[in-house]
């Protein structure tokens, strides 16, 4: 335990679930492995976890610079964030911070890929890295605050090891108005970056939408004075449809470049689903929303 700069905390939630927290990082870890193996793996993961935030903090000023300006980075997570954002950086404004949650999840999961494990997920506030042994799968639920509920299954044969959700109601700011955009991609960092951009693209001009410069809402934001969404009142159906269509075009654009496997976009009770090319929609159920607290993607036990 360090006495300077606060402490990382962990708790075991169930026989196969743990909670790690350090400053802004909140992880739920599910590990489906031999219990004797799990203990050691969780210890190793914890040791690595405690170092991640201090390392990222060293890189923080550089990580807030746009990815196309080639920020100079040292930390493994920071470099992974930049790698994930670079394919998007020539055409869109994006800073490596767009992939921070996913990159941390990926990095902690990576060493486990060498082990004999049936399944593992690391859920970093809705951005999820997955490990699946051949034949294994995860059922994942998506609960946007408003709109529709989704559930889907990720199987080992799908090219999906990352799931991320972005929207204006989430922890990070969005330039768009989507309640949420969930992206399935090859890894969590890539899914995180793509979800951020697609959620930014779900947008339209409407006088009732409240926006404010990011730097008037939060100190040290990577978005500077860009307008971010503060409130989205109920919008006319045509406006909702237009915003979703823009988001869909953005998602298709990145899907053609191989950066997105599938996506689900939610806005005010309407949804757009982007299927993987030549395959069924992985989003098997879309049911009306219940009155639930604002959770993002969760992995059922």
């Amino acid at each position: 335990m360090s006495t300077h700069g606060g402490t990382a905390a962990r708790a075991r939630l169930a026989i196969d679930r743990w909670h790690f927290q350090h400053g802004p990082i909140d992880l739920i870890i599910g590990l489906d492995a031999d219990p004797a193996l799990s203990e050691g793996l969780i210890e190793a993961m914890w040791t690595r976890f405690e170092r991640i935030l201090p390392e990222l903090v060293m890189d923080l000023p550089q990580l807030r610079r746009p990815a196309h300006e080639r920020p100079r980075l040292q930390s493994p997570s920071g470099l992974a964030m930049l790698r994930a954002c670079k394919p998007f950086a020539d055409q869109r404004f994006i800073t490596p911070m767009a992939a921070v949650a996913g990159a941390v999840a990926d990095e902690l999961l990576a060493p486990l890929r060498r082990e004999r494990i049936r399944r593992c997920f690391i859920n970093n506030g809705g951005d999820i890295a997955l490990l699946l042994a051949p034949g294994a799968d995860y059922r994942v639920g998506v609960w946007p605050q408003v709109g529709l509920d989704g559930a889907f299954t990720v199987t080992a044969d799908m090219p999906v090891r990352g799931i991320a959700t972005s929207g204006w109601r989430g922890r990070s700011f969005s330039l768009g108005i989507a309640d949420s955009v969930t992206v399935l991609a090859a890894d969590a960092a890539g899914a995180d970056a793509a979800a951020t951009l697609i959620a930014n693209a779900v947008n339209c001009e409407h006088a009732a939408i409240v926006r404010a410069p990011a730097d008037t809402l939060k100190d040290d934001t990577d978005l500077g004075s860009r307008l971010v969404t503060v409130d989205v009142p109920p919008l006319p159906p045509a406006t909702v449809a237009q915003a979703l269509a823009r988001g869909r075009r953005e998602a298709e654009y990145w899907q053609r470049r191989g950066l997105v496997h599938a996506a689900a976009l939610f806005l005010q009770g309407r949804t757009e689903v982007l299927r993987p090319p030549g395959a069924e929609s992985p989003f098997e159920t879309l049911i009306p929303a219940r009155a639930v607290p604002p959770l993002r993607a969760t992995v059922p036990a």
């Binding site: 006495t3 905390a9 400053g23 969760t298």
Partner: protein
């Protein structure tokens, strides 16, 4: 009693920013904003924790298999709003953050939910071990800073007193920070490392075995060596001729011990190392250590000098065992009266296992002690002393995070609660430095009105459930439903 002083954070000149040092990000937070984590924010220039509120779900069934995390939230009567994440009453005359009403058996009940900021608070840590941790009154350190002291030992346990106002605010700034962080970690059921001046290095964690100088303690001994003889002499009688219970404190010898004498055990002629106390009881047979019975020995025969040839006899059966049954050995004397290792007979093996099964698991247990007799009461009622009086009159049930809190007799509202029964992450800190802990007062609505409660601020539980960021935690299964339980008064 309670110091309700609020953190001022580190103010940054005209910008009115607060530097948060809750984590390595070290955010500079402007007024009205939150830091990177959204857990801490600058509220009117004050660094304030703004975690989601925690509810405990009191299961009406016995199914407690699902621990923590992600329970469905609902307005049913068994949901209890805890003070965790509720925020404080600062400045104190404000009504407590949540004053919620619930119905219990047709009676309107009110729970006043708040988080207290405690300078007068400490943790009492009971460490189930007979190992020597250090002299009474010795300083206990963490990261080199003094954070507490060794206090009076209790049965089978060493006791530490950790934290308290003198370390939090009475010493150097560094000592205060170290103490505060350590206290929050202890309260939040994390493992903490403590070094005792002139003694051991221990790792303690609520509800987990203590680790003393790197060795985890598995069992609490059944008693000292002499007590073990007293407990089991009758069960051994006839199965074996002599029993030595190896213990760093008092090693017992059956044939010399009063228990053996009364059963008519024949003298064995065994000659022990160490200093003989009363018959059958020996001090200092070896040095303290992590071997047999808290000694440093691996071979039990090293504490036996020999056998008196006038008294001992060939074929004599000798059992040597530790106070936890963890270590045991069985010997039969040969013609030269030399002990030769032999296999335990089945009945004797059962007798050894009986020792082990009578040992309880060794644990560290952590009680939080805090004084809420001060200005925090103004958030509950406009006449603070009436709250204290109502508590003493058993009209108010006091809980911390839904866990029952024992109310110390005498003045003020000094409560004591087992942190193991509180939700995870119940404790926070403010840079004062001081500890933030949840506190709930539950009483009948009519009694609340009578003691000058903030009736205008009472809201139904359902309204709180609908509007706040919430975190559900399953209540410890041993906790009574706080709305129905009576106060635990001293």
């Amino acid at each position: 009693m309670a110091s309700n002083e609020q953190a001022t954070g580190h103010m940054r000149g005209a910008l009115n920013k607060v530097r948060c040092d809750a984590c390595p990000v070290l955010c500079q937070i402007s007024a009205g904003r939150t830091g990177a984590c959204d857990r801490w924010g600058n509220v009117d220039g004050v660094l304030t924790r703004i975690d989601p509120l925690v509810l405990t779900q009191h299961s009406t069934t016995s199914d407690n298999s699902v621990a923590g995390g992600e329970l469905p939230l609902g307005g049913e009567s068994r949901t209890f709003l805890t003070g965790v994440g509720s925020g404080t009453t600062y400045p104190d005359y404000k009504p407590a953050p949540f004053i919620v009403s619930t119905r219990h058996e047709g009676v309107d009940m009110v729970t006043v939910v708040t988080e207290g900021i405690f300078s007068y608070c400490s943790f009492k840590v009971k460490i189930d071990t007979d190992r020597y941790l250090g002299p009474e009154q010795a300083n206990v350190r963490h990261g080199g800073e003094i954070v507490g002291h060794v206090t009076t030992a209790e049965y089978g346990s060493q006791m530490l007193s950790i934290g308290g106002v003198h370390h939090l605010t009475g010493g150097s700034k560094k000592e205060g920070r170290a103490t505060c962080d350590l206290m929050a970690a202890l309260g939040n059921k994390q493992a903490v490392e403590l070094a005792i001046d002139g003694g051991a290095h221990v790792v303690v964690q609520s509800g987990r075995p203590p680790i003393v100088d790197g060795v985890p303690e598995a069992r609490m001994r059944v008693g000292c060596g002499s007590a073990t003889i007293g407990i089991f002499a009758q069960q051994w009688f006839g199965l074996v001729d002599e029993v030595v219970v190896v213990d760093d404190h008092i090693t017992g010898v059956l044939s010399e011990h009063q228990a053996g004498k009364q059963l008519g055990v024949r003298p064995s002629g065994i000659e022990m190392r160490g200093r003989r106390s009363t018959p059958g009881r020996y001090f200092k047979v070896a040095n303290p250590g992590v071997g047999w019975g808290g000694t440093d020995i691996a071979d039990p025969l090293t504490i036996v000098e020999g056998f008196d040839p006038e008294v001992a006899w060939p074929g004599m059966r000798l059992l040597m065992v530790s106070t936890t049954g963890e270590h045991f050995a069985y010997y039969v004397l040969d013609a030269q009266l030399r002990p030769q290792p032999a296999d335990l007979t089945l009945p004797l093996r059962a007798a050894v296992e009986r020792i082990a099964e009578n040992c309880e698991p060794a644990l560290s247990t952590v009680l939080f002690v805090g004084g809420a007799g001060g200005s925090l009461r103004a958030g509950v009622t406009n006449s603070p002393v009436r709250l204290t009086q109502a508590i003493k009159a058993a009209l108010v049930n006091v809980t911390c995070g839904g866990a029952p809190a024992y109310v110390w007799p005498g003045g003020g509202i000094t409560v004591m609660v087992d942190v193991a029964r509180m939700p995870d992450r119940s404790f926070g800190t403010v840079p004062t430095p001081a500890i933030v802990a949840p506190l709930e007062f539950t009483l009948k609505l009519a009694d609340y009105a009578a003691l000058g409660g903030h009736l205008d601020s009472v809201v139904p539980l359902e309204d709180v459930l609908a509007r706040k960021a919430l975190r559900a935690a399953r209540s410890d299964s041993a906790n009574p439903w706080p709305v129905a339980a009576g106060a635990l008064l001293g």
